[in-house]
Symmetry: D2
Subunit: 397 residues, 4 copies
């Protein structure tokens, strides 16, 4: 039973998604908000034993300065949060703000480093030290708050991709690499993931960063009997792809090309304007189609930072396909979604489901949660509805 | 085993879809065409025992004049059929043309009646006579061609809706009604359906007409141990709805309004420009959302006859939905599909699957084929992927 | 010189547009707002002698109840007005509210009448009495505020169309008709227009209502040496048509069909959901294309009331056209504009320009202002840019 | 008077646009085609003395192999030319084919060079030799066909941009540079332009290449008393921008961002897939907005080569703008145009108008033809309708 309290530790704790999570949980606790956006509140999950809104305790790491209240005001002005929300939940935000700990910044890429605030970064001589500091913060959080379980959620900006060939190939090599700052290829997201293991926490990687997405670290999760899931929350254009591509496949409509253009203007957009960082994101978005269509169409994904759009991701997709006797047809869609408002409830869903996974003793990559991710670990991407069916079955088991 | 030959008897045998079926089967037989658009040719159906292209023999009823060759030329000019197709398959079309029989026209509505050609209409004093004439044509077709099984597919224009309260409520009342031309509420589509029963044929209702969609006739199918399915082929905008609406439901995104505007310019469009006929179609298109979303959003569906578009249905849908904390977002799509090229392969899929159903002794409304229809009989509409999973399971049983 | 003060008397003074005008003028006076949306603040109008923000004094008629402050709060919640605007300008709104006078309701149509509040409607035995009461209110406003000139702007909901054959054909017949409530075909908008003449005010008809749009009343304006202009402000889809259709004409691209679907959810939308009222609006929107394209394409305009959209008019237009050697091509656009925010600055532009017209002694329909209207009086619709060139030339004369 | 014959010499004579011009002129001569797409056939040009269809004689240079008939068949399959066109005009195409001369290839960029056919390229030791060979071909064409006037039209693929700092700054430097193959910065487009001068021909630069777009060569045109115009035909997305951006400016709507994504799949697309070549095109497309809006919005233009689209350019533009009191709104459009069918009639318009210019003795960059170009020479870009008004005025002078 989901008794006691569960910690939700967010890496990137003053970002748009984290702020929306904080305001959202406060609103849910007070009964101010409908359950829109929360998959775990839909009918199929009725009866599944998940923690309630007041059983979830927030904490987190952050490398940027500022306050959650300012972040909430900005989101309110940008039409992400309801009018009046920042003021209404100012006390909740202040309490959380006080408990946020400085983060680690290791090979995070120029675009992320330029956003960081010196006072909010823990200097670490080696990767091992970074892992240790992260673990200490998590343990202190658990102890201070009297938590039964802790789930770390990665919500930081997109790091550049890591060269797969450079990664340690087994646990021993991984452990050895942590002492050599110059040669260890791991970026902060993976060090956070290692910190979570040391602290006995589960991990959700909601970003396109590497995190726990390689074999050696997967073994460590398995050995520690801890579950993790990821990567890269499926919130907008890719969500649509995972709903639409199976339709083309089911009807044997041959997709010749699928082009997606994404515009967004928030901090995410600014980081992704840097080509190195963008590469990781685009890779994650492109993988899907081949899995779902069987055949890979010509595909193109772009992401452009358009300041005026703020948090309002606007995507245009053009699908060119052939039907019977080869006749070419087209479908286009535009998606105008508020990124933080789409991601935040999924983070809450995920912490509830990972709490269940911890109670069930799941270990390693939890493929049953693939429905939430662009690049699921532990499962190949499938039609969204198939993934949802699997998720519901797992949850109700 | 699918041995021998199966008859595909099309009601509306010189229409756009029927002509495309005829050209398409000819092309498939000669290996000229890829299997695009044919669901039964996708991987999940490998190993299912379905009739081959040369096991399917075409015939049909038609109330309009003209020739299939002319119809094919028109479709070629309208970019529905490949350049050169009409000439290449002229012999196949001529052979089929010669075997097409005049149809019946009973309470079909002004818009359909105005398209009919006197020489192509069988005058019938009573509904019972219409049923008999239809059955005789089917039996003659089976005998002449030496067919094992026959499947009738309704592809005619959309009739006005029938007042449900006026329908006969049991088999006896139904039988009795057929002698009274003035009071029998059944339109041609239902008389064709009754004719199929008399001739021992299965029925596919690909139109929004009533056909076999009421309880008394359903009993007759059951008693005759014959299967039928329908109604209203899911080829375009509604296909997309059945792929997309489940995505909103899965993510608890609250759909406030879903507006769909459909433009098309073929004969279908001309018939649907008549408000009486349009009503039947719009009803069929609107039912779906409530089933898929749980809650019914404000919904609006329009169909406009825009001559210049020909067979190229162009639909714009606007979905207005709310996410976390009530923030409103929007999705739009446009669909530019060639209606005949989308429908024709489904007709071929359906005749193959109904042939299987006949061999298996299925009787009554075959809900396992719901994936093909806007208003499925024998099953509530579900997510397209769930419907496909059910279909595959049934087929592979 | 634009000395002294000019009255802006709004019919429909608590509607969305009027409220936005009131808040906007307050913001402009305090220097809170940029000049976005105001054509008269663009470079070509530099040096034209127009009244300043504090020279414009607001008043108006209204048949609905409620307060301007409530209306402003609603617009703020609907993202039409900036966050905090209602509170910031509450005093300005309260002052204006106090001066608003009950309106007249004559043959206004069921949809408008159902919105009216008994206490806000002046009962009038005859049309003549309605005219007199309107004129008295205007004169009282001018005297109380010490105004040099007054411009009445019609912003009420769309009345049903008036049968042109029933209209009085000369001034004498017009005058005679006003005593016979049962037979006078004029609706409120025309009675307001007559009241403006009696009070010596200029008229702007921003609605699709008849207002001063018939010959006999035009003669009266001419005789009274007063200017008027209209009809139906060009704010969204039609604005785009007047920019785009000339492009097709200039390039000899043959437009076969132009379909426009408009969704909106405010009070305007609710009134237009009534078919009688909608007819007037659609007529006004459809006239344009033939003027601009030479040849009339197949055209379809729909307006649907979709509650969730509020003031956010969403339009989809599909243009099907043929180019060289007859090849068919397509253009589509979607427009997501905030109706009140688009209309309000035009109202301010128009009162400034009509003030200039009054000072110049213009009389009758002022065709030079055609750029602002869907159905301009005194000028055929032309390309927007041609209309703007004419306007600038007139203003700088 | 437009007596005698006028030569239309196309550089890129077997490309999609050239082939469409050839088929189109043949169809116009035989009265097979309506005048769609031809601006000079619209009402405002009635009475302007322009050469008739049979007064225009085709010739050209080409560096690629193949035949015009094959090119026409490909365009027919791609739905650019009407069904049957290639066969119907095969004789005209064969005649023209026989007269096409090998072209020059100088610093044309890797993507163009890879398309060239050795037998179709004239080897030239120096730029001067290239100029001379071009001029000789033109003169031979004029003499052989007995032409009164010749207009060269550049229709080749997009060359990489030329560094402006490296260009010769006066006529003497330009002349001197032609002997030094290693140091002369001019690419083929400019050598063709010089060849035209030597042969006494007018020039139309329909491409984004440099051509005659620098001061020293402009002086040579002036000295030779020859007219030229360009650059970069305005056929699709930019045409729309030049119709729409003035609308935003006229209404003081503040454009914050304007993003345009262009997909196309023909040879143009393949060349533009090369970043060096794409740069020239994007520069040409981006210049416009600042001219038309006063203020430059954040702007982004992309061009992607999507094979399946062939000649069917598909563009999506998203315009984010603010209206009254700063409220953000959006407009989107998609354009599905057939590039060759949009460009070809403009080429015919331009040769007719340049013939007029030659007869009138115009010299240097002819700004009156700005309406046809993305980056007009001799005039700043203005609203399309203003440019058209100027053009008509010039033509009717």
């Amino acid at each position: 039973m989901a008794d006691g309290k569960t910690g939700l530790w967010i890496v990137g704790a003053r970002g748009g998604v984290a702020t929306t999570v904080a305001v959202g949980l406060a609103a849910l606790r007070r009964g101010d908000a409908p359950a829109y956006g929360l998959a775990t509140e839909t009918a199929p999950f009725a009866g599944v034993d998940l923690p309630g809104w007041d059983q979830i305790v927030l904490g987190g790491h952050e490398v940027r300065g500022g306050t959650l209240l300012d972040a909430a005001r900005e989101l309110e002005a940008g039409r992400v949060l309801p009018i009046g929300a920042a003021d209404r939940y100012a006390d909740d935000l202040a309490r959380l703000d006080a408990s946020i700990r400085p983060g680690v910044l290791v090979r995070s890429g120029a675009a992320i480093e330029s956003l960081a605030d010196a006072a909010s970064v823990v200097p670490c001589a080696t990767p091992r030290e970074a892992v240790r500091r992260v673990a200490e913060d998590l343990i202190a959080f658990r102890d201070a708050q009297g938590l039964e379980r802790v789930v770390m959620v990665l919500l930081g900006s997109t790091e550049p991709p890591v060269d797969a060939g450079a990664l340690p190939t087994d646990v021993a090599a991984l452990d050895a690499s942590l002492d050599d700052a110059a040669r260890c290829p791991l970026r902060a997201s993976s060090l956070y993931a290692l910190g979570a293991i040391e602290a006995g926490a589960a991990l959700v990687n909601f970003t396109p960063c590497l995190g726990a997405g390689f074999r050696a670290i997967e073994e460590k999760y398995f050995d520690a009997a801890l579950p993790h899931c990821g990567a890269d929350g499926k919130t907008g254009e890719t969500l649509l792809k995972s709903a639409l591509a199976p339709m083309f496949a089911a009807r044997a409509l041959r997709v010749d090309s699928w082009v997606g253009h994404n515009l967004l203007g928030n901090r995410d957009g600014a980081v992704l304007a840097d080509p190195e960082h963008k590469r990781a994101k685009v890779q994650s978005k492109e993988r899907l189609l081949e899995s779902l269509l069987g055949d890979a169409p010509q595909s193109h994904v772009s992401i452009e930072a358009i300041d005026s759009l703020g948090d309002w991701k606007t995507a245009w997709d053009h699908v060119h396909f052939r039907g019977f006797l080869g006749v070419p047809m087209a479908m286009q869609f535009t998606w105008q979604g508020c990124d933080s408002a789409l991601a935040a409830p999924l983070v809450i869903d995920l912490v509830r489901l990972m709490d269940l996974a911890l109670r069930r003793g799941e270990k390693g990559a939890l493929g049953a949660l693939a429905a939430f991710f662009k690049s699921p670990l532990g499962a190949a991407p499938r039609a969204l509805i198939d993934e949802m069916n699997t998720l519901v079955e797992w949850a109700r088991r």
